[in-house]
């Protein structure tokens, strides 16, 4: 029986790994590995012998993929990292997501500028997947503040959902061979046409395997006060689809802000979903009081969960990949902040506790039970 909780924490200064017994009373921290180098993507691969992967986005010497076979006690570079072919004209700027591919040794990787790569040998060699990387829209996507990144890869059998900022949501129904923009109902508050075919600034997409066809999305909201063309757009930030991502509708009503980055689904209940609303102007905790908001009915209503968080004077940001949830029976959430705090939300987010309070700025938190 799997009995260890392994957290990977990608930071501005390398990757850390925290490990605890299943009760999660005390976490032991290892790292930083790849020290001094930003890490935007981590992945704990539990298929067979657990392996931990991390992107290492070296501003001097380029992108690397790090791999650990001992739960983060040490890492080694894989033989190669994703790279565009000579003559393509694009150069890899960052690695934003690493996820499991369909075969046991297969990894998929979303990068900046937005493109998708695949490895069939656990990260030692990579090939670009042209269906999205050379999509007719690809050269029209524009970078958001974080860069032109493919940050979300959600696989569901032959369906593949991709989140691109700013490109929007793309759907494949043939295992990733071909993709179509699928953004009906996904708003772009920063564009004169608030509902374009593509070009939305999707922040994160999540699903639960027991709710076929349903997806949740944190989109770039924060346009409730907008007075420009088209008027206020108060409800484009938090969305839900019930038709495999073909169309989307707002579930933002009841939240203090529809701006945020991560969105996470409860591991045992597809109706329970979590977001971290942020003040649109500062992208920090509204009124200086951090809170995670939880819906237990698929987004029809929301409840604020803040027990254990500071009640004032706190202005951190939680980035798109910096919140996750484990799969223990009474699951815990974990979130990392741009101020370097790693928090645990026990009992499904009822009670929050700071595990580590002085890490480097946190980009990414993933968890696995091994």
């Amino acid at each position: 029986m799997a009995d260890r909780i392994v957290l990977t924490v990608g930071t501005k200064k390398g990757v850390f790994v925290a490990e605890a017994a299943r009760a999660r009373q005390r976490f032991k921290l290892r790292g930083p590995h790849g020290p001094g180098v930003p890490v935007y993507a981590t992945f704990v691969d539990t298929r067979g012998t657990p392996r931990v992967y991390a992107s290492s986005c070296n501003p001097f010497f380029g992108m690397k993929v790090l791999r650990s076979t001992n739960l983060g006690k040490s890492f080694e570079e894989t033989t190669s990292a994703p790279a565009f072919a000579g003559g393509d004209g694009r150069a890899l700027a960052n690695i934003w997501s690493i996820e499991a591919g369909p075969d046991k040794k297969e990894l998929w990787c979303g990068v900046e500028p937005a493109a998708l790569f695949r490895s069939t040998d656990r990260g030692d060699s990579w090939e670009m997947m042209p269906g999205i990387s050379d999509h007719e829209h690809a050269r029209k996507w524009q970078p958001g503040n974080g860069g032109l990144c493919m940050h979300t890869i959600v696989r569901d059998g032959n369906r593949v959902h991709l989140g691109i900022s700013t490109g929007g949501h793309y759907l494949s129904e043939d295992g990733g061979q071909t993709f179509q923009a699928s953004n009906t109902g996904v708003g772009a508050g920063f564009a004169p046409d608030p509902y374009p075919e593509f070009g939305q600034c999707v922040h994160k997409i999540a699903r639960h395997e027991n709710a076929p066809g349903r997806l949740y999305m944190q989109n770039h909201g924060g346009w409730a006060e907008w007075t420009g063309p088209g008027g206020p757009r108060p409800d484009i930030g938090v969305l839900r689809s019930d038709d495999y991502g073909r169309s989307w509708r707002s579930i933002a009503k009841g939240l203090p802000s529809d701006f945020g980055f991560p969105i996470v689904v409860h591991p045992h209940d597809p109706d329970t979903v979590y977001v971290v609303p942020l003040a649109p102007s500062t992208r920090t905790c509204p009124d200086g009081a951090p809170a995670v908001w939880r819906s237990e009915n698929g987004g029809d209503s929301w409840k604020r969960r803040a027990r254990g968080f500071p009640k004032k004077d706190t202005y951190f940001t939680v980035l798109r990949d910096a919140m996750t949830v484990d799969e223990v029976k009474a699951p815990a959430l974990y979130l990392g902040t741009t101020t370097g705090q790693l928090w645990i939300g026990r009992d499904g987010g009822e009670q929050w506790e700071c595990l580590f309070d002085s890490l480097p700025p946190i980009h990414n938190v993933k968890v696995a039970v091994v």
Partner: protein
């Protein structure tokens, strides 16, 4: 006229990509040709210095002896016998 032989000094943290070599001997008429030689002979090392488009990475500086090629002719800077080419990280960070 044959190309000059120059020394390519390898930064400590990059030596893992060229079997620990501190310096490499390269025969090349320009910095560009030296980099192209590295692409063929030391691919892993080259990938740390240049991106997929062949451009020297943004936060690296290339020196010929003590001169930054940015102040000379860039990667088209001519090389002379005995020159030392060094790649160093720019002063940046935070």
């Amino acid at each position: 006229m044959s190309s000059p032989t120059v020394t390519f000094h390898v930064l400590g943290q990059l030596r893992t990509y060229c079997d620990g070599a501190e310096q490499l001997s390269v025969t090349a008429a320009t910095v560009r040709a030296a980099l192209e030689d590295l692409e063929r002979s030391q691919t892993a090392l080259y990938r740390n210095i240049c991106d997929e488009t062949g451009t020297v990475r943004r936060h690296l500086n290339v020196f010929v002896n003590s001169d930054n090629v940015r102040d000379l002719e860039g990667v088209d800077t001519a090389l002379a016998p005995g020159d030392v080419v060094t790649v160093l990280p720019a002063v940046s960070g935070g």
